[in-house]
């Protein structure tokens, strides 16, 4: 009920804002540009159908994914000349993706595990000794016997099971953990998980990496009408039923209205005009492709095709008022413009993709859902509990093992109960004036032909920030809540960010090329930082892109038409970056302090531009990940176009993605203390989960998502 009240409130405010702005604007004299083609006052309607079919190869489990998209889109583009020289433009889009039914084993109601034993959680008995066993879902520390203690020993290490079993059952005095530990704690017994809870799950990150000694959780992957576990509204995604995933535009934000705005130019002086554009729209700042340095006004829907769709198709249009004073030329500058944008829409972050769907950017949606489910329901976490004191010998606990003493490098799968770790709440900013977003840009052309802009924007981060709230149930002491530090129990926030930046472009006759540059400095962005008690820090960031476009005659491709070679280099620097070295490895911020990503596009136009082969290559230099995307477009007629392509990715040295996972953060001393601990805080123990995704980046985290695709686009 409250939700509907809020929605009604912000819509009323938005409408009022539109009307007020329009009335204010009406006081000026209308003098719209005489665009001849827009002069017809009849409706202009274009109707376009598109089928997109993607097929995906094997993921990291060795399983052939198969059909990953069978999306059918109907798009209607509407234009009309209104009274008093106002123009109206709208794009309505509805899609239906059949993949959730056609490949329901992978993305639909049959996705994920069939039984608890399909999910195996690692117990690292001895990392140095290479002794690893596994337990099924629910079989971690705290299970206390029963059918959940089905630890399985890897080949060659007999006795591993028994050791784990002994510890599980409290049959040994190990370190600070007293005998019978589980009986007095809030760790849950396997029986706290219903039988069905082992169904419909996958191991987090199993699509792109193995457990490799790191922590791992299970994540529900079925649509939320089939499995509600971990379903949250993370900002337009995360809580969707199958029907909502199939037809994502038909939601309570009316996303089928891709765009709907009116625009008009008013003459307010001899050489000055005021351009006004009101309504749901995309506002594009910046001059670069793919990278979003200044182009951050609209959030982006990465669930549609990760980072590989044109931004026009994946920007999430917002209700925005855009006003621009166009001063024309002066004695010193050829063009001068000052524009203001007010994004008065209710906040929306980027759509990173719901877990269980084909495109989950950075696999983050799965991390969020898995952690939300962990908070709500509890769950097993692989390689977690560390038995710190290795003074006991194996003989003392009756084990015959290839190693003599109890291993010091042991981490056991652990069953956490509800309310102990995970994601608790999502704090999506509600509509209020203070939560709206405002930007200003001066754009001009100098006497010498240099195009430039100076931009400033205050906005809400479109990426979530997880804040450890350190007030959860202490799993070691059932009666205690709170009082922790560095605890992996989070609330999700979207902090305010202030940006200043600029861009420019120019051409070089000598090189026959055009150059594009863009840079931005932000304050307010938040990053994972395991060195901080709340596990995040606010850091200033500088980003820039330099791009060069050079049309080049490549005779073996065409002697009459140039081939476009376009290269870009993206750079990001995080100020006050923290990277500390602990006794067990590095900890602090997983994001790279300095990172470079390069792209190269080679695009030819043949057969009078009706056939266009292209090759896109991208390289994330720090992640050691790359992507290659060959594609051919063929326009059979003005109305029918076919596209065939592939997207191939790979990486090397992916151990460099591992980062401190904070299982060693000692939130509840003395229970969680390692021998090396002197207080709360990490020691540097690392794994690929959960923050390796930030080091792998969007290319690395999707390196096992090679696809071939086919598009058919027809204009009626």
């Amino acid at each position: 009920m409250q939700k509907h009240e809020n929605q009604r409130e912000w819509r009323q405010k938005a409408l009022a804002a539109i009307i007020l702005t329009a009335l204010a604007a009406g006081a000026a004299r209308a003098d719209d540009l005489p665009a001849l083609g827009d002069g017809d006052d009849s409706w202009r309607v274009d109707v376009i159908y598109e089928n997109a079919t993607h097929y995906r190869g094997k993921d990291d489990t060795g399983h052939e994914v198969g059909l990953s998209k069978f999306r059918n889109t109907l798009q209607v583009e509407l234009d009309k000349k209104l009274a008093s020289d106002w123009d109206f433009h709208a794009i309505l889009r509805g899609t239906f993706d059949g993949v959730y039914r056609l490949n329901d084993d992978e993305f639909g109601r049959k996705a994920g595990s069939r039984r608890a034993s399909d999910l195996q959680f690692e117990n690292t008995v001895s990392k140095s000794g290479g002794i690893v066993t596994t337990v099924p879902w629910g079989g971690g520390l705290g299970a206390n016997g029963g059918p959940w203690n089905q630890a399985t020993a890897p080949f060659g290490y007999p006795g591993g099971n028994e050791l784990v079993q002994a510890i599980y059952n409290g049959g040994a005095t190990v370190g600070v953990m007293p005998p019978g530990l589980v009986a007095n704690t809030a760790f849950v017994n396997g029986s706290a998980f219903s039988v069905q809870s082992g169904v419909g799950l996958r191991m987090l990150g199993d699509r792109w990496h193995g457990p490799d000694g790191g922590v791992a959780i299970a994540v529900p992957v079925r649509p939320c009408d089939s499995d509600k576990r971990g379903c949250r509204d993370f900002g337009g995604y995360g809580d969707k039923d199958r029907s909502e995933l199939e037809a994502p535009e038909f939601n309570d934000r009316l996303d089928f209205i891709r765009e709907a705005y009116v625009k008009k130019t008013f003459n307010i002086g001899d050489d000055t005009s005021f351009f006004l554009k009101l309504g749901r729209q995309q506002v594009v700042w910046g001059r670069t492709d793919l990278f979003r340095v200044l182009d951050v006004i609209n959030p982006v829907d990465y669930s549609r095709n990760n980072i590989y769709d044109e931004l026009q198709d994946i920007r999430i249009p917002m209700w925005i008022a855009q006003g621009e004073f166009r001063f024309g030329s002066s004695e010193l500058m050829q063009d001068r413009n000052l524009s203001f944008i007010w994004n008065f829409d209710k906040f929306r972050p980027n759509n990173l993709g719901q877990c269980g769907t084909a495109n989950v950017m950075l696999d983050a949606g799965c991390f969020f859902r898995g952690m939300a489910s962990l908070w709500d329901n509890g769950g097993t976490v692989a390689n977690f509990a560390h038995l710190s004191d290795g003074s006991a010998t194996l003989a003392e606990i009756g084990m015959g093992m290839p190693i003599g003493t109890l291993p010091r490098d042991m981490w056991l799968a652990t069953n956490f109960g509800p309310g102990q770790i995970g994601i608790r709440k999502v704090h999506l900013p509600s509509w209020s004036l203070s939560n709206t977003q405002f930007g200003v840009k001066f754009e001009g052309v100098t006497q010498g032909g240099l195009n430039f802009s100076v931009n400033a924007l205050t906005y809400r981060s479109q990426l979530p920030s997880l804040h450890a709230f350190n007030n959860a149930q202490n799993p070691f002491v059932a009666s205690q809540k709170g009082g922790s530090s560095h605890l992996i129990a989070f609330d999700m926030h979207f902090p305010r960010v202030n940006l200043i930046g600029g861009s420019m472009d120019f051409q070089s006759e000598t090189l026959g090329a055009a150059f594009r540059l863009e840079g931005a400095f932000t304050k307010g962005e938040e990053f994972v930082n395991t060195a901080r008690p709340k596990l995040y820090s606010e850091n200033k960031v500088f980003r820039s892109v330099i791009g060069i476009d050079r049309p080049t005659f490549i005779p073996f491709i065409s002697e009459s038409r140039t081939t476009l070679i376009s290269a870009q280099l993206f750079y990001q620097h995080i100020f006050d970056h923290e990277e500390h070295r602990g006794p067990l490895g590095k900890y602090g911020m997983p994001d790279w302090k300095d990172n470079f990503i390069g792209t190269l596009l080679i695009k030819a136009m043949l057969m009078n531009d009706r056939l266009s082969p292209q090759l896109v290559m991208a390289r994330d230099f720090k992640a050691h990940a790359w992507a290659v995307a060959p594609q051919v477009e063929w326009s059979l007629s003005d109305n029918l176009k076919l596209t065939l392509g592939a997207n191939i990715k790979d990486r090397s040295n992916d151990d460099r993605w591992a980062w401190n996972d904070c299982r060693d953060c000692n939130p509840y001393p003395p229970y969680t203390a390692y021998d090396e601990h002197t207080g709360p805080g990490p020691l540097g123990l690392s794994g690929l989960e959960p923050v390796g995704r930030f080091r792998a980046g969007p290319i690395g985290a999707a390196w096992r998502e090679d696809e071939a695709y086919f598009y058919l686009r027809y204009k009626f």
């Binding site: 005009s273 166009r326 413009n337 472009d505 009078n608």
Partner: protein, 434 residues
Amino acid sequence: MKLKYTAFTLALLAVGATHAATEADVDNSFHPYKKGFPTVSGLNAGITINKGNVDQFKDAFDSGLYDMVKDGWVDIKVAASTDFPQPKAYIEATRQNLGKIKLGPNNGDLEGYVAGRPFPEEPDLNDPRAGEKLAWNFKYGANYGDSGAIYPFYWRYRNAASGQIERTIKFEFHFLNLMHRVEQPPIPEITPNPSKIYRGTYAKVYEPVELKNTQLLIHRFDDDQKLDDGYLYLGFQRRVRRLAMGQTTDAFLGSDMMIEDFEGYNGRVSEMKWAYKGVKNILVPFFNHNEQQNLTDEYKEADGYKFVDFHGRGNCMPNVTYQLRKAYILEATPVNPNHPMSKKVMYLDAQTMYPGRVVIYDRKGALWKNFTIGKAHPDHHLPANKGSDVSLDDSFSQVDMQSMHCTTGQFKVHIDAKLNPPRLFQVQNMRGGD
């Protein structure tokens, strides 16, 4: 070194040797037919020239069109020659600036130019820079007057062998002279204009939907040595993209036209070596639009306007009447050795200084493209254009003779200053689109 110096001195002497233009030259330049129109025996209004009788009239053809007729590409319907008067203010500006304009030391340098036709005198084959002067006459010609617009403007890509229409593009084009203006206020220049932009060209695509809202803006500077600035707005990117304008020899949107081919030659004087090759009376498609018998109403216009139709092989050539007119043969050879053509021969209409016919040769010197542009008399076109004295572009045909492919253009031209305000030619205008 000595040889170079001598050649340079001789060239300067030759320039100096040409006589200063006079009032009579102006009169002759703008009224070349005051003593009557040219004639060729047997070439009378109403006849049709085809491959069977073209040899009889070979002298009335440029080599490219002759070959096409001889090869059966097209039949030429002949009409009476007519006068295409030029804007009075442009002629007056030519008079007022007589003797004040001269070529600079380098190709592409012009000194003292204010407005009008820079070199109205009859070109002299003995003048080594006569071609350059014609090139300046063309650059500062009265085409579209001070400003003009085309909408709709249909381009069709055709397979010349099969006649199949592969693509239809619906454009809107605008042209604006920011400098050297003679008729539409402000005169002579729209100020402030700190970059000294001479001319702006703005184009927008309406169809097909794949290219919808693609926009092109080109700024040509008065300083001919300065490279044009170009901007492209791509509808699917919603962003203005700076173009590397050194490369104007690309097929524009996949057509048979290079940006450099627009209007016969759309480049800087300094990018070509110019050679005047003489004068010839040739058949060119200059006509009265409203009197054409084969206009098409395939595209419906509310005012009943009908477009020039196309016929001949692959429907590549305009189905209009041709008339015999005096033309200067101007040969342009690219300075850039990597240019895809070896030369283009422009047949500049003596009265309008506009090329009704252009023949383009590839790098090897073989015939590559035949460009034909049809000019309509403004008094026999849209009522609003009457009295403008602007010879109206009405059709174009660019035939790639090697690939058997052509691009045709069908115009609806509007001479109306209100349609071409300066801010339409600002980069920011493109960003305000959809």
